[in-house]
């Protein structure tokens, strides 16, 4: 039962965050690149204000999987790094926290580009 409830909460919160993105695409002239960038920056802000961690606690992957969660992760990384290393953490925190995701995306994409054929232009 707990598992079903967790999945449902992730579905509803994650779906709602994506629906907001869709409204932005349909109602404004924001391009996908701008939406992704704004979501990350807003995620940093909501993480810094302590709002987003509460949503992650409630919805798990429903909050951490949308790119707002990536911003929240950057904020969390900086907070922990400044606590541990002082001023150096200002520079290292964000990148360190984001490293796994960015490195994975870059490496997997490189391998995919080598293995797969690009789609036919039509």
């Amino acid at each position: 039962m707990d598992v079903l409830l967790s999945l449902l909460k992730a579905f509803l919160v994650g779906g709602a965050l994506c629906a907001v993105g869709q409204i932005l695409i349909d109602r404004t002239k924001l391009t996908p690149a701008r939406i992704l960038t704004s979501y990350v920056v807003i995620g940093v802000l909501l993480g810094a204000l302590g709002i987003y961690p509460k949503l992650v606690e409630f919805a798990g992957a429903g909050a951490s999987v949308p790119l707002l969660g990536f911003g929240n992760l950057l904020a969390k990384g900086v907070r922990e790094a400044v606590k541990a290393d002082g001023a150096l953490g200002i520079l290292t925190g964000g990148f360190t926290a984001a490293a796994a995701g960015i490195a994975a995306a870059l490496f997997f994409s490189l391998v995919a580009a080598l293995v797969f054929k690009p789609k036919e232009k039509g």
Binding site: I25, V41, L74, G101, A113, F116
Partner: protein
């Protein structure tokens, strides 16, 4: 026939097909929710296997990124994105797709300035502004001793 821009706007609106906004919204909600629920499933699985919270969350990101890149390579993700809109864009899988898709497309322009450079066409700004925001936050934390 002469008419003001407002009149023309009303006429054009009347003649154009009904906006698919409701359908777009529903598709984004269902697909985005589905991807997040899949992520939550992996998170629960990794925690059940003994991962702590942080490791499980990182594992979810890496797993979803792997799947998104694979589906991009198989030309499935971009087709799905045509219907799902923000539902496949906003999750971390959309970020992975934004790296993999140009990497594949621009391979023909060379490995350095094609594949290697074009990978960052969307990921670049995301990383630049995300990192800048985190540095500003770090600066505030450090200056005001908020940690």
């Amino acid at each position: 026939m002469k008419m003001t821009p407002e009149e023309y706007g009303r006429l054009a609106q009347k003649a154009s097909p009904p906006s698919p906004m409701g359908k777009n919204l529903l598709m984004a909600f269902l697909c985005g929710g589905g991807i997040c629920a899949l992520g939550e499933g992996f998170r629960l699985l990794y925690q059940w296997l003994g991962a702590d919270e942080e490791l499980a969350a990182a594992g979810v990101s890496v797993t979803l990124i792997f799947l998104a890149v694979l589906l991009t390579g198989l030309n499935v993700y971009d087709n799905l994105a045509k219907h799902a809109g923000a539902g496949t864009l906003v999750p971390i899988t959309g970020f992975a797709n934004s790296v993999a898709s140009p990497a594949l497309e621009f391979k023909s322009e060379g490995f350095i300035l094609g594949l290697g450079a074009k990978m960052f066409i969307i990921a670049g700004p995301v990383i630049v502004y995300g990192t800048a925001a985190s540095i500003l936050y770090g600066l505030v934390l450090w200056l005001f001793r908020l940690y």
